[in-house]
Symmetry: C2
Subunit: 365 residues, 2 copies
């Protein structure tokens, strides 16, 4: 197993190396062929892909395609999760049929989270925020791994025929029966939209974080091995960099100082950014004015680039001003605080309305 974890600072060179190691394409190669690229695409937040041309082709020829991704219901919904949520909505707006799995089985098998707890988190934290961010009920299947159709369950078992313990071990490292069952279920999550009961073989885009890379490679291999029986088209995928945690390390639901939740209050936001956000500034004001800061390692700047400042010119000015020492760390943090709280004020208001729509997305038992 290749160590992809943790992603502390964002260093695009590491991602380039990753592309080479896993044989994935740099996203910049397909960018010119996308008519309406998202900000994540343009800014290189989405840095790599597999077979994205299948999606551009489907879009060009106005053919059906699927967006498939999942969530691990393990805590509050924070800005790290927003990156995938925005991509779901992006593909829905382009016409994709969306399959979103709430990985309650995996949460139970690998993290001991009870199913009821998973259900609550998946709905209250994830689904409601998806809706608030713009997800519409049309052509969306938001399902739980323990509560989905039998053909999906059967597929997760059929897959066992096409792999070996050694392969699983090479991909997932130290493993056990529960991890194996989780892995087989995840493969079924990605491939089942192509079963005839769910719409048949179609190009599928799987937008995921860079940490899912080995898993996607495995699934694509299995799709090829099952082609004669199921006629699967190997799923396409994009890989996004992981948003750095406030302190510069990995953003983690179990470390509140590493993230800002979409339910955090303005006071909490201000406090977290002021107290924890890793700075690329100098030790003293005088030194900063003289030598300038380093926006490439400054988390406030990275968050603006990745999440909060869509205007390239404004972003460039911030970059240059910080680098020259004109913009101080405190001032940069204030820009971020203002942006985050402005976003959250609107989001949290819309969230109340979104709550009422939840039932449109849930499968009746």
């Amino acid at each position: 197993m290749v160590e992809i974890d943790p992603w502390g600072q964002v260093n695009i060179k590491d991602y380039s190396r990753l592309c080479k190691e896993f044989g994935i394409e740099e996203f910049s190669n397909v960018l010119p062929f996308i008519s309406k690229p998202s900000l994540y695409m343009k800014r290189g937040i989405i840095f790599g892909h597999k077979d994205f041309h299948q999606i551009t082709k489907a879009l060009k020829e106005k053919k059906d395609f699927v967006m498939m991704t999942g969530l691990m219901p393990s805590g509050v919904f924070h800005f790290g999760h927003k990156v995938v949520a925005d991509q779901i909505i992006y593909y829905q707006e382009l016409g994709a049929e969306c399959f979103i799995t709430a990985a309650d089985l995996e949460a139970y098998l690998t993290r001991d989270i009870p199913l009821e707890k998973s259900r609550e988190i998946a709905i209250n934290e994830y689904l409601i925020n998806y809706i608030t961010l713009g997800l519409k009920p049309k052509k969306v299947h938001f399902y739980f791994q323990t509560n989905w159709k039998k053909e999906y369950n059967n597929l997760s078992k059929f897959i066992s025929k096409k792999t070996t313990f050694n392969e699983i071990k090479n991909i997932y490292g130290d493993t056990n029966p529960a991890k194996l069952v989780s892995a087989l279920t995840q493969v079924a999550d990605i491939l089942h939209p192509q079963l005839k009961e769910f719409g048949g073989p179609r190009p599928t885009i799987v937008p995921v974080g860079a940490d899912q890379l080995p898993h996607l490679s495995f699934t694509r291999d299995l799709a090829a091995r099952m082609k004669s029986e199921f006629n699967f088209i190997s799923p396409s995928a994009t890989f996004n960099v992981l948003i750095p945690g406030l302190e510069g390390g990995k953003m983690s639901s179990s470390k509140p100082e590493s993230y800002i939740a979409l339910t955090d209050s303005p006071e909490i936001v201000e406090k977290k950014i002021k107290k924890y956000a890793f700075s690329g500034g100098q030790a003293t004001l005088e030194e900063h004015r003289k030598k300038g800061g380093n926006p490439d390692v400054d988390v406030s700047y990275q968050w603006l680039r990745m999440l909060f400042e869509p205007d390239d010119k404004k972003l460039e000015k911030i970059y240059n001003d910080y680098k020259s020492g004109k913009l101080l760390t405190g001032e940069l943090k204030e820009i971020l605080i203002e942006k985050v709280n402005s976003f959250l004020k609107d989001h949290q208001k819309k969230r109340e309305k979104a709550k009422k729509q939840v039932n449109k997305f849930l499968i009746k038992d």
Copy 2:
């Protein structure tokens, strides 16, 4: 893995050794406590058990209990299969709720049998013969592993959390992901009737052939490990000797000379017994009259004892006459041929009526 396969000649001493090795009780110990023992019980065809007292207790106290067993849909239904079928019906008549799994998933994963083929065999060979032998639709769940409720599927995955690769390897020997998934599914087959969705924790009797012994031990261990979460009662089990094949080796669906199918014609029955049935007689008529035959290794005699001669006195006379040389091998075979064909004439007539009842047993999709 202990080698339990193949069972050639029936030698009760081997089964006794097996009881000791696997820590199972000899069935004769509980026989006095059963008010209406079956012929299989009285004759020692059912030679061992685990926790059968839970069943005698449920019967005595008129409490609910479950009968659970399965079939591997891999060929024609022959007299080897009848032993389990008769036990299913025996427990149904005692009031058990019956769960019968058609192991189509396992047939696909471990023997490459397509699901449609399994379905056809399970219904035409097994279910129709069960009905002909006396199975009634009341309180029977005849289901396919790929077409049963989600709680059952989920259980088969939850079980993965409670075992290790080493344990699986020790029990099943050389293994792979498909065999692991099959094993977990089989455990769910046995335990799921105790989920609240299927009636809750109750004593369960699993009547199986001796070859299923390691699997039952594994399932009982898992039931104990899952007790705190699911309140499972460890399933009880009985183990029957395997009916010897005509030639004295293992009876196998893939070797027509080893079995008599319940659909065989009188001519085929006569031909198979005359040509193939392993004899305990002497090489010449003269020698046989002088030295006598050996009924303990004679397959015709064993089939009479196990399947076709319920009258102890008549059986004893046949035994003694054969042993003394009074009864010749040809004559013994004629007795068996007459018994088999008499049974099959009646069975095959009733079978036509049974066909019309099939739909009462099948789950609507």
